[in-house]
Amino acid sequence: MDFWPTLYVFVLATFIGLGVIRRVSRLLHTPLMSLTNAISAIAVVGAILITGGDYPLRIRVLGAIALFASMTNIVSGFLITDRMLKMFKTDTRGDGNRA
């Protein structure tokens, strides 16, 4: 396997990440953490391939647990991020919208 392209992707993505995250508002560091957590639960991709593949049972059991764990992070991560972000308002007068 030629691993150089993947290493390139890693290094470049890290720089993009550093650049983008540096500019995230400090107000939002808690939601940022739950959002990146949901995004990195993209490990679900690997879990699906293992759970759904034509593999021995014990392998697929490991995959299914991983799939469950990732899916939990995806669901709770995005939901709680949105729940928190909805609370950030500039002016609260006349807006009775409570989550």
């Binding site: 691993f3 993947t6 992707v9 890693f10 993505a13 990440g17 983008v20 995250i21 508002s25 400090r26 107000l27 939002l28 560091h29 808690t30 939601p31 940022l32 953490m33 739950s34 959002l35 990146t36 957590n37 995004i39 990195s40 639960a41 993209i42 490990a43 679900v44 991709v45 690997g46 879990a47 699906i48 391939l49 293992i50 759970t51 759904g52 593949g53 593999y55 021995p56 014990r58 392998i59 697929r60 299914a64 991983a66 799939l67 469950f68 990732s70 899916m71 939990t72 992070n73 669901v75 709770s76 991560g77 939901l79 709680i80 949105d82 972000l85 950030f88 308002k89 500039t90 609260t92």
Partner: protein, 469 residues
Amino acid sequence: MMYGVSQFGYLVASVLFIFALHWMNTPATARRGVFAGIGGTGLAVLVTWADPSVIHHVWIILAIVAGFVVGVPLSRVPLTAVPQRTALSHAFGGAAAGLVGTAEYYLQLSEGGEHLSPFRMAALIAEIILGYLTLTGSLMAAGKLQEIKWIPQRPVIYRFQNVGNLLLAAIAVAIAVAVTASPTAPWAPALFAVVILLALLFGVLLIIPIGGADMPTVIAILNSYAGLSAVAMGFVLDNKLLITAGALDGSSGLILAIIMCKAMNRSFTNVLFGAFGQVKQAAATGEEKVYKPETAEGAAQVLEQANFVVVIPGYGMAVAQAQHKVRELYDQLKKRGVTVKFAIHPVAGRMPGHMNVLLAEADIPYTDLVEMDEINPDMPQVDVALVVGANDVVNPAARSDKTSPIYGMPIINADKARSVFAIKRSKNSGFAGIDNELYFADRTWMLFGDAKNVIGDLVKQLAGGSGMH
């Protein structure tokens, strides 16, 4: 054909993830970021599921349903519990990476192991070490934050702790190198299992010496590890989406950890291996000093006369769930034309941004939440600094006392305000166990009691006979 479609899907998902984080740079666009993230994840799940090698669908559906069943309640926890939820989700992320790595290794082995090139094997080992140590480390952190009884809250220190940990790490690395060099040797599967056990153990050992005040940094570091384990999985599966998403998560955790360390004037190694707890006993032996207590009535009168009030919240506000009462106080003062700002220290609370979220929950406009560096030049003009459950972040010893363990840490200069009211649950010293001279200063008056009750009393006094409450 299918390969092209799925790769294109992954590419689009990567772009969506980058946009998701980009939109977090201001609260105005932040919710768009969530939708972009959901779009990217959904797309990636669909194209992966459509892969021809995926033939068993029932298990996938069951696992996804189970994920929803657990995930939805986890997203509804009270906001004061967000630090432990975050730690728990790092644990889940670490578990997923560790399990996929384990499955992948034994799978490749059962198929003869010819795909286990040194690079892939090294990535696999990195994936399981990072994954499993994040699992147990984050569970420990979540337990400490949740204050579960059998997990010690105070840092646990013993002799040769750092040496022992380093030795353990060295053994794990040595075994890892051996397994990487000959992944198909007859002894390799057993040693692979030993590496897993060592990683699990290492996660626990890494967290037990860490106290609550260092949690923001540690959570950020674990966040970074969880991301890096996803990167390693990407290397194993040759999947560039995983690498991109993991790298974004990893760099996010890294930046947050650096910000937290700077806010405490400490280095990474000092947080992880510094054993903050040791200085505590030494600092507690000062002579008895006298607090000047004040009543809610007296404090309310001073607040009423003020033009500029700065509230400095800390973990105590979260513990007492006082943010809604704080909002009532804010309303009462605003009604009288008082300028009210909230001064937020980067490490106030138990995770990055903790105070901002709690105050936003109480409907306080985020435009009134001010960072430490912005508020400090204005502090001499502040009539009243109201400290709500914060301690170390307003301790002037950080500026003046070279022997103090927090010396050099940037603080909010509450002591420069014209007067200070500090709400404190008890007369004990703060989480770092250090005396706070601010409480004994000439212009400081103490309001003892639960933050929620004390602020409730202040609100009652301010509301007076107007019959509002």
